[in-house]
């Protein structure tokens, strides 16, 4: 029969029920251990459980992911293609009888990027005139110049870039990281999402889902423009009977009743865990308002992020908040640019020249500010910054001056902990239509992010639906060329 080393309810069961929920640090403290939570939490697995510790030494401890919702146009921002300028207005003919199709329209003529390109920095990266601030940071970035998606439809595409699967129901990158690493603090959520104040992205909350992982790993949404940025942090105004005194007195009695009940039920760990969860909730109530208090930042910092200016206020505020959150121990912050729907995002079907510049103007300065600020504080050394989108756009026109979706090639970049600065990996064809050399899939991208965090993407698994599910499904290669 099985050896009896487990405490009650078994350690495995305890972690399955509470794993990640209390945050890694709190849980480790409670259990007097620093073991990797992922291993224990996968209690339903009959597979071998990973041994203690991370898979290897991490290069980064936390992540800020900037997600451009809608499919940011690579050839109008980073992927400079002289052919598009030379042959603008011609029929698009990639040659060799290649079949050309677009997902929502009939392919139009070759469309010249209506923006100027220049090389920047020591690395000489090409950046268009839409991103003057980021252009000053290219030597800190590692570009993936030929990312590929398996789809060019927003819903599945966003799921793929966030969860590694085309269908709903799978955990996103932030949830996996939360599940694996837990939190660095016990007074803030592990994984925080800062959506565009204009609205949620395509797939809405599906992109921040914990899927089949314990719900504690789901992204906590902070609505920065709302009077109550975190839902249920405080009693609602509608509950008139909850005065601060009543709140305190109520919680006192609750603690007392729960303690007596625990004593009568002889140390049931779940009852104990629930008592702790109220104590942690109280800590969160105290800590959260401080995070949002941006007036504690210097005027120089506020200006750096573009606060106080209409164009950059929203994204700048959220980038600054992201820095404050990771500074205080939040493991993963996702900052979104662009809501769902036909406008106010990077999905520029109608007119690139009109639709793309405002998106760039809103994000360019804040993103550069975030990189500089993290660097100045020494945080960039072990913080990973990711810039991603669900797919790219077509080299030919849609309805005259817009571009349709293109999963064939697009651009993403990384910076920070463990990332080789000032490099580019991969190359698209002469049109920026399809990847030509060294493509990077979402699986490779995720594998690399996990690698930098000290995790082996092939070993970070959770048993569900008959398989040991991974963020990278059955694919993924770490892109060592962009790792220091």
């Amino acid at each position: 029969m099985r050896p009896f080393h487990s405490a009650f309810p078994s350690r495995r069961e305890f972690l399955w029920r509470f794993g990640g929920g209390l945050g890694g640090a709190a849980l480790a403290q409670m259990l007097g251990t620093n073991r990797l939570l992922a291993s224990d939490a996968a209690v339903h697995s009959t597979q071998g459980i990973l041994s203690g510790g991370l898979h290897h030494a991490p290069r980064a401890k936390r992540v800020i992911q900037l997600f451009m919702n809608g499919g940011a146009s690579q050839m109008d921002l980073f992927d400079y293609k002289p052919a598009l300028f030379r042959r603008a207005g011609e029929a698009f003919n990639p040659g060799a009888g290649e079949h050309v199709e677009a997902p929502t329209s009939e392919p139009g003529k070759v469309l010249k990027p209506p923006f100027e390109f220049r090389q920047h920095g020591q690395s000489g990266r090409w950046v268009s005139s839409l991103l003057p601030h980021l252009a000053g940071c290219v030597d800190d970035l590692a570009f993936l110049m030929a990312m590929q998606s398996r789809t060019n439809v927003h819903g599945p595409g966003s799921y793929l870039m966030n969860t590694g699967f085309l269908l709903p129901g799978f955990p996103c990158l932030g949830a996996w990281v939360s599940y694996a690493l837990g939190s660095e603090c016990d007074n803030l959520p592990t994984f925080v999402v800062l959506p565009d104040t204009k609205g949620l992205p395509y797939n809405q909350k599906g992109n921040f889902s914990a899927g089949f992982l314990p719900v504690a790993n789901q992204g906590t949404i902070i609505q920065t423009a709302s009077a109550t940025p975190i839902a249920d942090l405080r009693p609602p105004a509608s509950a008139g009977y909850i005065t601060p005194e009543a709140d305190r007195a109520g919680l006192d009695l609750l603690r007392q009743l729960n303690r007596q009940h625990l004593a009568a039920n002889d140390g049931d760990a779940r009852l104990e865990g629930r008592i702790q969860s109220y104590e942690l909730a109280a800590k969160m109530q105290l800590s959260a308002p401080e995070v949002f208090a941006l007036d504690g930042e210097t005027e120089a910092t506020r200006q750096l992020y573009g606060l106080g200016e209409k164009t950059t206020e929203d994204f700048g505020r959220r980038c600054l908040l992201a820095r404050r959150l990771v500074e205080r121990g939040v493991r993963f912050v996702q900052v979104w640019s662009g809501a769902g729907g036909p406008t106010n995002n990077w999905d520029n079907h109608a007119n690139i020249e009109k639709e793309l510049p405002p998106m760039c103007a809103a994000t360019d300065r804040p993103i550069a500010a975030l990189l500089k600020d993290l660097k100045a504080r020494g945080l960039l050394d072990d913080t990973l910054v990711l810039w991603t989108t669900e797919f790219g756009r077509m080299p030919f026109s849609q309805s005259g001056s817009g571009r349709d979706h293109n999963g064939g090639t697009f651009v993403g970049w990384m910076a920070g902990g463990g990332v080789k600065p000032g490099v580019a990996y991969g190359e698209s064809d002469e049109w920026s239509w399809k990847a030509a050399h060294n493509p990077a899939t979402n699986y490779d991208f995720h594998a690399t992010v996990l690698h930098l965090l000290g995790l082996d993407h092939a070993r970070l698994t959770f048993r569900h639906d008959g398989s040991n599910r991974r963020l990278t499904d059955v694919h993924g290669e770490v892109i060592h060329e962009i790792v220091t």
Binding site: M1, R2, F4, A7, P9, S10, E13, G21, L22, H44, A102, E106, H154, G155, P156, P168, G169, F170, Y202, N203, Q204, K205, G206, G211, F212, L213, P214, V215, A216, D232, L233, P236, S238, A239, I242, T243, E245, A246, A249, G250, L251, L253, L254, Q256, L257, H261, L262, N265, R270, S277, Y278, A281, M284, G340, G341, P342, D465, G466, S467, N468
Partner: protein, 647 residues
């Protein structure tokens, strides 16, 4: 109750036991060398009921004989019966998802007749709330959603009919084999009717990619359709058979004896099924149901790596080939009529000869009564799933369930047999001296059993901390819907209206074809219906229910997570819905108990916890109620562990 059929020889039985018993090394060796010996694919065994043992109340029900036998082998004794208040609360949440009313608790505590408990079981099984509770379990498994999901996420206005179908089926105790046939082939059965057509909502309850289907690109459309069929095939196989057939889309199953060919044969059965609204027999032209819309499919080919543009060999429609005693050859030609495919497949599933069908449903029912299945992986009875903790009991129950002399496919008979067992009625307390001397000496060195901490003094905890052998009742936190429904029941605000379109506690905005939903908490009777009637729109999730592990609508959820988090605590502390019900509960106890605060506090305890307050509790609650109001006291109890857990 006698087990139907013959019993295997003692030697066979011992061998089976050896393969089943949870010794990981032995188990792995057994099934990797001879995969076709996978336990779940073997015909149902008909084990003899072990001789009764244990306390007297453990001698009346075959279930107890099996459970007690296993406990005895481990040298453990069961816990004493739970006290009656605890027991009624447990039973009531279990069978109808609601707490007992104060009157029901009082009547039950007064009822000294020998069959008082059985009467309570019968009353609850006859309640129309029973279907509302158990339909929720089923809807989790079949990934029931009422919107398309993905970027547009349009509402399926008529999907609620399937939800009502499931509730009604459980309330009517529809024979499970008929329940299967209707969901798989209800539109093409010879006796097809409105109910059976609506039942095929099962097949199309998963997400549907509107943007992908309307793509200008043929390859995108083909890929989207292939993913949609994987959802249907995977859900059919996991729901009824506990087989992860979806794992064989791209290659032979890595662990179970399921060739890739099997996946495509079953896909051929369902390849004609499409999503959409449809009329049903007897309905008016305004009556629609979101259900299977079938048409004759094209030829089916095995796809290399599951990719639609890489066809290999053609296949005929069929079922699984690994069930030696129940052939998956359905006698269907490659071009056989669409309806005939699903009819025959449904017959193959809903057969007493199919050992998976009975084992899987018996295990699901057991799981929701005890908190864990006899097989802890209810959608995966394969090699990577967990072996059964009580293989003989699972087979005895499965054989009994399908036998005309047993339950004859009646789920209510199965529920009753389980909840009237002594194993179910045990207390959740942890006894500290439940081991016999002789076994102690034999099993382990004395030193090994001694632990310093008082909570590990119990031998049962040391031997079987997870309580797989059922030496007590495992307490569990209320599920999201139970908790919300209980708050409404206690506050007196529960609107018992059954069926029909669900309520929509959100603001709905359309933006260029995309639907956006902003969850809110509107007050009013319309929104005070049971949670199962909250429309399951993918993008309109409820933060309170989310924090309590309400699963994703698009993912098959055979076992819910049961987490405890600070954000969950914040929800229960501050959510406006919880606050409102606390205030209403306070008004109710004031109304029912009269002006005396002491009686109000007593009534509050009785309603929420099914017991009287202890003197110290009464004193402290009185103080809080006097100083901060009765709503504060009500709020405390609704947040308390004793309320939130079922013991």
């Amino acid at each position: 109750m006698k087990p139907p059929g013959s019993r295997p020889s003692r030697l066979v039985w011992l061998l089976l036991l050896a393969a089943w018993f949870p010794l990981p090394g032995l188990w792995a060796a057994t099934v990797t060398t001879v995969t076709t010996n996978l336990w779940s694919l073997q015909p149902l065994q008909h084990p003899a009921i072990p001789p009764a043992s244990g306390p007297s109340e453990w001698r009346n029900n075959p279930i107890d004989a099996f459970v007690a036998d296993k406990l005895r082998q481990l040298g453990l004794q069961p816990a004493p019966p739970a006290d009656r208040g605890t027991l009624l609360r447990r039973l009531s949440f279990d069978l109808i998802g609601l707490p007992p009313s104060a009157e029901e608790t009082a009547a039950f505590l007064r009822d000294s007749r020998g069959d008082a408990y059985e009467r309570a079981v019968d009353r609850l099984l006859a309640s129309s709330h029973h279907g509302e509770r158990w339909a929720r379990h089923w809807l989790d498994v079949v990934r029931f959603g009422e919107s398309q999901g993905f970027e547009y996420d349009r509402i399926r206005e008529h999907a609620w009919r399937y939800r009502d179908y499931v509730i009604q089926a459980f309330n009517d105790d529809k024979p499970y084999d008929q329940f299967i046939r209707e969901q798989l082939a209800g539109d093409v059965l010879l006796e097809a009717n409105a109910v059976s057509v609506i039942a095929t909502g099962f097949l199309v309850a998963g997400p549907w990619d509107q943007a992908g289907h309307s793509s200008a690109s043929a390859s995108v459309r083909a890929m989207v359709r292939e993913a949609e069929l994987e959802d249907i095939v995977g859900t059919v196989a996991q729901t009824f058979l506990g087989v992860t057939l979806n794992c064989a889309r791209c290659h032979n199953h890595k662990f179970d004896p399921i060739p890739q060919r099997d996946y495509y044969r079953v896909k051929a059965v369902f390849q004609g099924v499409n999503h959409g609204d449809r009329h049903f027999p007897g309905g008016s032209t305004n009556d629609w149901s979101y259900a299977a819309n079938a048409s004759q499919p094209e030829a089916t080919f095995i796809l290399n790596r599951g990719e639609p543009d890489k066809p290999k060999d053609q296949v005929t429609p069929g079922a699984l080939e690994a069930l030696a005693a129940h052939s998956g050859e359905l006698g269907l030609a490659a071009d056989s009529p669409e309806g005939e495919r699903r009819r025959r497949f449904a017959d193959w599933v809903a057969s007493p000869e199919n050992p998976l069908t009975a084992r899987v449903i018996v295990n699901r029912v057991w799981q929701h009564h005890f908190g864990r299945g006899l097989v802890a992986t209810p959608n995966d009875f394969g090699k990577m799933g967990e072996p059964p903790s009580h293989p003989e009991l699972l087979d005895w129950l499965s054989a009994w369930f399908v036998s005309p002399d047993g339950a004859n496919w009646s789920l209510k008979r199965l529920h009753k047999l389980i909840v009237t067992s002594a194993a179910y009625q045990q207390s959740s307390v942890i006894s500290k001296s439940v081991i016999s001397e002789s076994v102690t000496a034999k099993r382990s060195p004395a030193g090994e059993l001694n632990a310093a901490s008082p909570i590990t003094e119990s031998p049962a905890l040391q031997r079987d901390a997870d309580n797989r052998l059922l030496w007590r009742f495992t307490p569990h936190r209320l599920e999201a819907e139970e908790l919300r429904d209980a708050l409404l029941a206690l506050s007196g605000e529960l609107n018992p209206q059954m069926g029909g379109p669900g309520f929509r506690p959100f603001r709905h905005v359309t933006n260029g074809g995309q639907n956006e939903y902003f969850a809110s908490d509107p007050a009013g009777a319309e929104f005070n219906r049971r949670t199962i009637y909250r429309i399951s729109v993918h993008s309109a999730r409820d933060p309170l229910l989310d924090s309590l592990d309400c699963p994703e609508f698009s993912t098959r959820t055979p076992v819910r997570a049961n987490t405890t988090t600070p954000l969950q605590a914040l929800s229960l502390m501050n959510d406006s819905f919880v606050q409102r019900q606390a205030a209403k509960l306070a008004e109710r106890v004031q109304r029912e108990a009269g002006p005396d605060l002491k009686y109000q506090v007593d009534q509050l305890w009785f309603l929420t916890l099914a017991r009287e307050p202890k003197p110290a509790e009464r004193r402290d609650a009185l103080k809080l109620a006097r100083e901060q109001g009765m709503a504060s006291a009500a709020w405390v109890l609704l947040n308390s562990n004793e309320f939130v857990f079922v013991r």
